[in-house]
């Protein structure tokens, strides 16, 4: 039975690997067939979108945090009328780093677009 489970997991991994390879090859082909700029723009837009989604999922905080407060109040604490919160290491993406990441993505995309168009004109 254990061997069967391993086979199933191996098959799933093989399928995932195959799909990744096919997807990568498609992108390489699209880049080769002059639609590279379009691809870069789409990838950039997706990256910007993913940064925004991550920022929203992290609570749309203004400043990036490296620690969060976690409630560790015990029954005895409640009996004593006190609460107990502790700092726990956790990365919370804020608007500051999100905006910086988005700015870098947009600037890079713009630069690539600009140089590609200039090269085409020259050729």
């Amino acid at each position: 039975m254990i061997v069967d489970h391993r086979n199933v997991i191996e098959l799933i991994f093989k399928k995932i690997r195959f799909k990744i390879v096919v997807f990568t090859k498609r992108i390489i082909n699209m880049v080769k067939t002059k639609s590279n700029l379009k691809i870069i723009n789409i990838i950039s837009a997706l990256l910007v979108l993913s940064v925004i989604v991550t920022w929203l999922l992290h609570g749309a905080e203004i400043f990036t945090k490296t620690k969060i407060l976690v409630d560790k109040t015990t029954e005895l604490d409640k009996m004593l009328g006190v609460k107990n919160e502790v700092w726990v290491d956790k990365f919370i993406l804020g608007f500051d780093y999100s905006a910086l990441a988005i700015a870098i993505i947009i600037l890079t995309t713009f630069t690539i677009n600009y140089y590609s168009k200039t090269k085409r004109k020259e050729s």
Partner: protein
């Protein structure tokens, strides 16, 4: 002689009537130590502005409080907090919090509060009292009188309380407001505006052992 006895009893009765305290099996003068090796005691400040809410918290609390279990108005003591141990969740902001423009932790390593007076007492339960207190708050070398509210909970030593510390336990939940400019603190950290008045909260448990 009879009149003297009567007046003495009336006086003693009025004292027990007006002296408010915990109605627990322990009695008499007790001193509670708030230095917790487990670092579960905490003091925090909360600042709210349109830009961001900031919470600063420390577990480095030291101090002793003494009281007569039967008369809470006898409450006296001093609690201190290590300035450098306050954390806000952002390492860079913590550094700025410690520097000389803000709390100046190297020059003023402790923030202190000395209880001076208990003004109002409200009995919430046999072992729980709500009081209004006045005391001296020292921040960045400046001492000012501050008033606040606190809830005190008394637990007589039991198997459950021994998990936290030996002896009777006193739970303190206190809140008071601090105007930063009164203590020479500039209310901005790395360009982020901090509220002019911050709310300070204390959640701590002291043991009488």
């Amino acid at each position: 002689m009879k009149k003297l006895f009567v007046s003495f009893f009336v006086f003693a009765f009025s004292l027990t009537l007006f002296a408010q305290g915990f109605k627990v099996s322990s009695s008499g003068e007790k001193t509670f130590n708030f230095t917790d090796k487990g670092k579960r005691n905490q003091a925090s400040f909360f600042s709210t502005t349109p830009l961001e809410d900031i919470t600063g918290l420390t577990n480095d609390i030291n101090g002793k409080v003494s009281l007569n279990v039967d008369n809470i108005k006898s409450l006296k003591g001093e609690i201190s907090v290590s300035t450098a141990s306050i954390k806000t969740g952002i390492d860079l902001r913590d550094e700025h919090l410690r520097d000389e423009n803000w709390l100046d932790a190297s020059k003023y390593p402790n923030i202190k509060f000395t209880i001076k007076e208990v003004n109002e007492v409200k009995q919430l339960a046999d072992n729980r009292l709500q009081i209004k207190f006045t005391g001296d708050f020292t921040l960045k070398g400046v001492t000012k009188s501050i008033s606040g509210d606190t809830t005190l909970t008394y637990l007589v030593e039991s198997e459950q309380t021994k998990q936290r510390a030996p002896g009777d336990l006193l739970g303190v939940q206190a809140k008071f407001k601090v105007k930063l400019s009164d203590f020479g603190v500039k209310n901005n950290i790395v360009g982020q505006k901090v509220a002019e008045v911050v709310e300070v909260s204390v959640n701590m448990v002291g043991s009488s052992s």
